[in-house]
């Protein structure tokens, strides 16, 4: 149905300052679910709004189906968008909200009505068709916003944090429903969120943004397992990847005086390991990290062990009932295949040879 291509897209707002979006390039393939993920203010919404045609593009090329879209007004782009605020028309019934976009394109009232009722039935809104938005619950409003996009059968669906105003339980079920919807429609979708769980569970690919720039693009597993830089490593995961300052001497990485990995680099590096890739061990010599148990956080399914190693704290994902005792020394083994190294100055990932552990 549609391929969306962004080439070196830049956005400067009139208010000046640093660009809100800085040289962003990626392609969303036909039928792909692309998630834009990043902390608040990193330019996700701005990027999405440029695709929608709601913000002008300062420079760069935006194409939908290989047609340049930079100068095409929003109304002619044949896209649909779900807003965080839902943006339902308050003076219209649910029926009219759903049909508003269709009426603009199709004059056949009967067909519009039929399509609206069909979509309303598919997302469970039939009983509410004649209500005004103010008489709906938050979840129902969200559905109307979703339905308004589906009804149009657009080339591209855009979502700007559509779940963030829902309560936790509803968010989980709606998440699953959106995934199902994507599969059924096999439509091209771009989904903005700051919630990494949404990104990991929904996205075919995730584009992680930082300060208006693309930090990394890849499948959820790729970006989780092989972060391109320290920002992505520290942003993804809950708790995120442990990052510790270390040094490299051209042959090996030294962490707290121990050789922990072989690498060709030299100078200051960041040693990264995810909490689930550390395991407590009794063998102090096999350990990569040693410290003192600073606190234990039982989460039910697992327990997070905070290990104080003097200049930094490391978090370990332990079993439900860990053997570690508070304030006692602890030694940690790292899964050698899971060690990641980053340049301390630039934050860029450093490639490791296959067998990293010495």
């Amino acid at each position: 149905m549609a391929v969306v291509t962004l080439q070196n897209i830049v956005k400067h707002y009139e208010s000046g300052g640093a660009p809100a979006v800085d040289d962003v390039s990626f392609t969303v393939e036909d039928g792909e679910f692309m998630v834009l993920l990043g902390p608040s203010g990193c330019g996700k919404s701005t990027t999405l709004r440029m695709v929608a045609g709601l913000e002008s593009i300062t420079s760069g090329r935006l194409a939908i189906d290989h047609q340049l879209m930079n100068a095409v007004p929003a109304k002619n782009r044949d896209i649909a968008m779900v807003f965080q605020s839902y943006a339902l028309y308050p003076h219209m019934s649910v029926r009219d909200n759903l049909g508003f976009g269709l009426k603009r394109r199709h004059t056949n009232r009967r067909l519009v009505r039929q399509r609206v009722e069909e979509v309303a039935a598919s997302i469970g809104l039939t009983a509410y068709l004649d209500r005004k938005p103010h008489a709906l619950s938050g979840g129902q409003r969200q559905r109307v916003a979703l339905g308004r996009a589906i009804v149009r059968d657009p080339k591209v669906f855009l979502f700007d944090e559509p779940l963030s105003n829902l309560d936790a339980a509803l968010r989980v079920s709606t998440r699953a429903e959106l995934v199902r919807l994507h599969r059924e429609l096999s439509a091209t979708m771009i989904y903005v969120t700051h919630d990494q769980v949404e990104a990991m569970t929904m996205g075919d690919r995730v584009c992680i943004m930082e300060h208006g720039r693309v930090a990394q693009i890849g499948t959820p597993m790729e970006v989780y397992l092989n972060p391109a830089n320290a920002f992505v490593a520290a942003f993804l995961g809950n708790p995120p990847m442990n990052l510790m300052p270390a040094t490299a001497d051209g042959g090996a990485v030294l962490l707290g005086g121990r050789r922990v990995a072989a690498v060709a680099a030299e100078g200051d590096v960041l040693f990264g390991i995810r909490p689930e890739d550390l395991t407590p061990t009794d063998d102090a010599r096999a350990a990569v990290i040693s410290g003192r148990v600073a606190s234990l956080e039982p989460l039910g399914a697992e327990t997070l062990i905070h290990v104080d190693r003097g200049d930094s704290t490391v978090i370990v994902r332990g079993p439900r009932v860990p053997s570690a005792r508070l304030d006692e020394p602890i030694h940690l083994r790292a899964d050698p295949g899971m060690i990641r190294l980053f340049d301390a100055a630039t934050g860029e990932a450093i490639r490791l040879p296959e067998e990293a552990m010495t």
């Binding site: 709004r49 007004p73 109304k75 649909a80 807003f83 943006a87 028309y89 308050p90 003076h91 976009g101």
Partner: protein, 289 residues
Amino acid sequence: MAFASDRTAVASRPRISTAALRSAALILFIALYTAFAAGPFVWVASMSLRTTTEINADHYAFPWPMHFEKFAVAWTESNYDTYFFNSAAVVLAAVAILTVVGGMAAHCFARYRFPLKGVVYFLIFSTIIFPPQVTVIGLFQLMVDYGLYNSRIGLVLVYVAIQLPITIYILEAFFARIPGDLFDAARIDGYSEWAIFWKISLPVALPAISTTIILNTILLWNEFLYAVVLITDDDKRTLPLGVLRFMGDQLEDVGMIATGLMIAIVPVVLIYVFFSERLIQGMTAGAVK
């Protein structure tokens, strides 16, 4: 426990009487104010049913017998039917133009950034700082020059001009509170800026729109100064000028003036009675849901 409750009982007794005193004072004030505001109206209403001879004999007597025929006389013999039609036509036209033009201007001020926006805004609002007595002479000359003097169309244009700033002001404040996402959603739904104004801005802002309609209708229906300066022909006069008919050089027909005033006032009172709730709603309307 008992001790504590005793104490509160003792403490609360004087408080109750203070509250009663307060509400009594309030009721007294409201009663006085109502008498102050409604008194003249009641007086004119009573005079409208009495002849000038009766009024001269006793200004405040109860209107008995009631001369309802005076209304018929004013309407059929003193040209009040024409005045009424003129007022209705002029006010309707002016309010219609004000609502559409004011609405569009307010929409632009609230929604768009454009060059010289501040200057345009200032120019529109600078007109309200001059009292009409200052501008009316120049306006008179202007209207004569453009052949709009002594014309109802000219009066409509003047009415639009004097009420436009306040109309824009009220509507802009309301339009600015309509969430921008609504307009973005309509754009994405395929609508032009023009269509968005008619299908989103105006209907969503209906409380504010009706406020300005009622406000402008009442103000312009009663407008006297510009009308008396700009209209001379008797058959182009609006209702507030109807009193001139009963004002001779020597003699004022007070009884008929009162009757004419009542004819002029009643529509306004009716509008207010039926729409006051909406008016207050519009003025105090909260954010759009």
